[in-house]
Symmetry: D2
């Protein structure tokens, strides 16, 4: 079940960059949820983004729901959804892989799959697969919304330009700008960084920050199926992710216990936490505080700039300038993808912890 | 199967800090592997550590193998192992949880399990469960060694004191000092930091760095059961972990593509990579380069210093000074635990990718 | 992962009888296998059957492969396949379920899914889902054929008419007659039974017998993931199955040990078994002998004859004569479905036991 | 996870016939359940049985609970339990397997595990592993009892002697006789059959019949994780099982639809079924009727009577008379084991369908 995420709310992904479709099947979605193609489309459109430096490949990415709905509601049956690949140009890719592109999965997949991989546009390893994540995430978000859970993400850093610390309100407002940046004072600098990288034939990385609001205590199944571990596993399925931290993250390693521990406080009725260095997770379970995390994306590996590679047939060194249509920086487009993976993971844990009824009785 | 890690080489964990035992069951270990209690004990003893600031709880942690061996070799049957808890002092803990300790799982587990959790010493959420991880890791390491894979970890940072970048040889040599620090020039400063924290009734965190050598390309099952995602999930099962990064990690987010991409080079016979910013993983699969990762540990939450908490029965605020016997810093003791979780994960992926035959025919 | 069968070769199913499609996603199929739509179609066509008493719904059932192939070969990526529902007539079904049909899943699914199920034509519980099984089975069979494993099934009993014991050759030859009956002397009686039931507005059941040839010893992962248990689980996913037996099955319960045990014999070079009462499975593992099993199908629940039911809104008893287009007996059409479920199960166990390499290195 | 059954209520098994222990770990048992060793012991004692023809191996089978309880209640943590093997006599078994015993797993496991299996007393393939099933089943039964679900089984047939059809009351009463036979008129004949087989150095099989009362509609997760499929998979993990049928089973294959369909009836308030040919399962889900099933056990393969086998080292034919201490018929002892496997399976499906809260909130 290598290709399926989640135990009760399970997501399966299929499709390739230059194949017929990108698709997903959700199994275990509870019945009675209002879902339509418009809901899916809204999320898919956020993934397309219009920020400068985005690929010139123009895909309509129209969601088709193939199963699992009746009278506009989920039925408890699997929900299959696809988008069709329309604007495919395989001309920059030969019949077979000859020169693996540095930073891509070309080489590892060539070895692992004995040379049978579809290498065109990265095949299944392409970022296009994240459209499948986003479609599944749209359903997961809708489900979580029923339980009062909301997931928000933004571009926290891009090409070395850092946004200031953002409140949930600012993160939400960031959906209005094309960088999904919560700090409008940094947008110009981000734009400049992208333009420069584009001019240089180079690419940029960055950091996506996310928060999940309204998560009750008790999500996560310790000690080997933890909430943080589950979120990390889901998020590392996004191409280009190299690191994840929860709450204070790496900074916590430099704190004293007395600084890092989140004290309990009370108003005489409820117990809550005064701070949230833990990022809403203790002992692998949600604590009731917002879940906060940060995800590092490496720069896009496809660059026009010349790089060293090797022709795998002749075993001769070659200089490679990656052709094809590529993003200079995918961080803004990854914002909705990070939200999707968080939503899929929380939906599964919420069903398993009975926050959301999985099957009705 | 919330309590089981791995699909073909599967590890189940049981036991509590103040219960009778800590134990593990390994299922799917291939037959014919030489295993004995001495092998397990050697790893358990590394976890005990003797560094200053380590808990005064003195457990012999004697490994007992209950099943799965015949004539000193694995048989393909499940391997159950336990250590008995001997030096248990439950006196600092009441019959029931009254005041949740900040930074601990007390509160989330109290809610999730309806007040039925064993809270003494943190119960199953205690760091003692990592003894189970280490026992399973000892078997996984032995299995990987047959395939030429070696896993090494060290204390890269402790209480803000950073070791310089370490070679695999230096990491290996670090086993000789009590901090497992690869940079002997930093040991005195680490010792000083621990002494000071101890004096202050406070605690410290740090960073463990690890490398897996000899991993062939192709481990990991994309796109939803990736090697990096699997490692992250396993490592987040270790108490106090708040972040993980592979290769250049968060630093990659600030690089240009031309800086971060690892170029391919050749000697005319083999293809390899000139650098390893990817930390040995591309597209969710091993690339053939060493797998490198860094893990952030928050400071130990149990501190003598007074903290704010709330009595969950009276709903009154209380000042809490955590009694019981605790470490000031668990980072050196966590080194072998990180190694264990990496080993368990690689063993599973290696079997699934046919690097190691799972069942003989 | 309720909707996915198999651990390394995993099959996910989606679609409803009166929805847009029936589909399947295969994950973990090894790369390099020659697959095309013709191969899938040949198996789908066997499922359509032309035997008397088959539904008048006329579906072309054209297989479309959406992903997972490159240059006509599998790539190791998920293989998604669909057929479109063309000849749908939902007129006999109201907007909502009012009167559950006896013998169907209508009632249990109404309760389980809170009234949100798509009840038209049985929705996802319809026998049409078996088209998804057959598509996945076609790929599994091709994979097994590479390892010399062949799966054959036939109609062993229909409406009380029993075929004599059949050899593998006779089972294979049975594909030529419309009842898939290995005993040509019984075809006329089967035809007569179907005609009579049709006249009576009634339906028939029967028994499918299957054999898997060329299965080497060692498939199955004891003691909780056994070959017989895995086959049974897969086969009970076929609608209308009520019983399964391996080898001598229920008859073994009446034998003495001395009669039932299969003795070992040798030609001085190889060891084999003189008889096969065990049906090729001992200790949950294949023994090297042919795997033999028999599956009981209840009669089709949809009958024209009046039956007692209850209107779930008015809670009044009603007489129900099931309209819509239905088979009188699905046993001949189920033959290829039983083969498919056996193939899917054996493919998964074969990959896991390293009989077939799952990922190439 | 080959060695683990169930998704949310998961059972792992370890131990060998001639090893130190037989054990089990239950993960995912909800908190707050009253469990003690006496409860486990009562079920273990039923497995020992005192019927004539039972092995002379005398094991106290004392249950030890190693983890998962606090103040006599489950905590949500894994429950590990063991019994120690005390009366082991390995003298009839050599250092290595030389002559595989017909009807046993000796041969298949020798091949699968490359000769490394512990063959003494059948190793992990011995019926002794069912003590682990019974311990886990005791917890599952307790959990189900909270939801009003009761599981009852009996010896329906032994050595060809058939008991008449039994009501749940008669099945329950059968616990009082040593054959667990619901039809007291047949006990003498069963006794006679056992005595005769013992005299002949031969062995007997039989049929266990079971019923689960109080199961609400909606257990089972269609279409690939069905209730019948799950029960079948669990029950085939019991050694010597060769067939299973639900409700009318094989007899349904010979009925007409009008005979086999269970009509719905109503008292104006509730809807129920007039008959139960389906055995309480339609569409892979419980229907609300009692779940009824029958399980065929082959005769014990270990017999004193001479059989043909082959020495695997010399490849010469040999005559084998199985020494060691064996049962003549295990059917009465299997009654509680069948109950246990049903209980484990229902507990998992009940938690997943929210009949029983898995985690408290």
């Amino acid at each position: 079940m290598s290709n399926t995420l989640g135990k009760e709310f399970s997501v399966t992904i299929f499709g390739e960059s230059h194949g017929a479709v990108i698709g997903t099947v959700i199994s275990g979605c509870p019945p009675g949820l209002d879902i339509d193609e418009h809901l899916i489309q809204t999320e898919l459109d956020r993934r397309k983004s219009n920020s400068p430096g985005t690929t010139s490949r123009r895909e309509p990415d129209r969601a088709e729901i193939l199963s699992g709905l009746f009278h506009g509601k989920t039925t408890g049956a699997p929900i299959a959804m696809i988008i069709r690949n329309k604007d495919v140009d395989s001309s920059p890719y030969g019949e077979e892989l000859e020169v693996p592109r540095p930073g891509h999965a070309d080489w590892a997949s060539f070895i692992k799959y004995g040379g049978f991989s579809d290498h065109r546009g990265g095949g299944r390893f392409s970022g296009r697969r994240t459209a499948g994540f986003v479609m599944a995430g749209a359903v997961a978000k809708k489900l979580l919304a029923e339980a009062g859970i909301e997931i928000l993400a933004c571009t926290s850093e891009l090409g070395g330009v850092k946004a200031g610390k953002a409140s949930p309100q600012e993160i939400k407002a960031s959906r209005r700008n094309e960088f999904f940046c919560p700090d409008i004072n940094k947008i110009a600098a981000m734009q400049e960084a992208v333009s420069q990288a584009e001019k240089d034939g180079d690419s940029l990385g960055g950091v996506v920050e996310a928060v999940a609001l309204g998560v009750p205590p008790g999500l996560g199944e310790p000690v080997l199926d933890n909430l943080d571990g589950g979120l990390a596993k889901a998020i590392f399925a996004i191409p280009a992710v190299k690191a994840i931290e929860f709450g204070a993250g790496f900074a916590a390693a430099r704190m004293k216990g007395s600084q890092n521990n989140d004290p309990f406080i009370t108003d005489g009725k409820n117990i809550t936490l005064a701070t949230n260095n833990a990022g809403g997770i203790t002992g692998g379970m949600s604590s009731g505080m917002p879940i906060t995390l940060r995800v590092a994306f490496k720069p896009v590996p496809s660059i026009a700039k010349e790089q060293d590679s090797v022709n795998i047939k002749t075993l001769k060194p070659v200089k490679l300038s990656v052709r094809g249509r590529h993003d200079v920086c995918i961080v803004p487009r990854a914002v909705v993808v990070v939200e999707a993976m968080i939503a899929i993971t929380l939906a599964d844990f919420a069903i398993r912890a009975r926050i959301i009824p999985g099957a009705v009785r």
